[in-house]
């Protein structure tokens, strides 16, 4: 029963990742893609890792996966923030701003 719930969670996570990759490929501008990468893809990672925890069925594997999850929750959005900050500082704009550019 728990195993079936794990498989369902993995399927939902893969669907999240597929939506994220679809939008990264077909969205029109750069900053929209940054938001998608930082939010939807992290959501897919969380769901897949919880599903793998349920499928594995042992406490030690689940704890290790929890450590991995915590690490990735810290580093993933930070990396996308760094990329977006780098693009903004280099003068990449998508909307016209008035006043000081």
């Amino acid at each position: 029963m728990i195993e079936i719930a794990g498989y369902v969670l993995i399927g939902i996570g893969l669907a999240f990742s597929a939506i994220g990759i679809y939008s990264v490929l077909f969205y029109r501008d750069f900053y929209a893609r940054v938001v998608i990468t930082s939010k939807v893809d992290t959501m897919g990672l969380i769901t897949v890792l919880f599903g793998v925890m349920l499928v594995s069925g042992s406490w030690s594997v689940a704890l290790k996966l929890l450590v991995l999850l915590v690490f990735d929750l810290m580093t993933g959005p930070l990396a996308t923030t760094g990329i977006a900050h780098s693009a903004y500082q280099s003068g990449y704009r998508i909307k016209r701003e008035f006043g000081h550019g």
Binding site: L14, T37, V52, D72, G82, S86, Y92
Partner: protein, 86 residues
Amino acid sequence: MSLLVYAMVALTVLLIASLVRIIIGPTIWDRLLGMNLVTTKIVMAIAVLAVLMERSFLIDVAIVYSLLGFIASILIARFIEKKGQV
């Protein structure tokens, strides 16, 4: 356990789809975004592989991977922002 094999195949297809953004991306930051996506997909694939092969030490390798991908993308982004001065 055979359902996890399909999950591996799906993750591989997603990884190759995110390689497309690395190849066509018009600016260098789009390519960095694609690299971030590939790192996430590989971490997921290692977690699935660890349960599929019943080898739990593979998850330690996944932690190393996520840290290395983070360091690489921050390093390249910082390098571009400072115009070559790291």
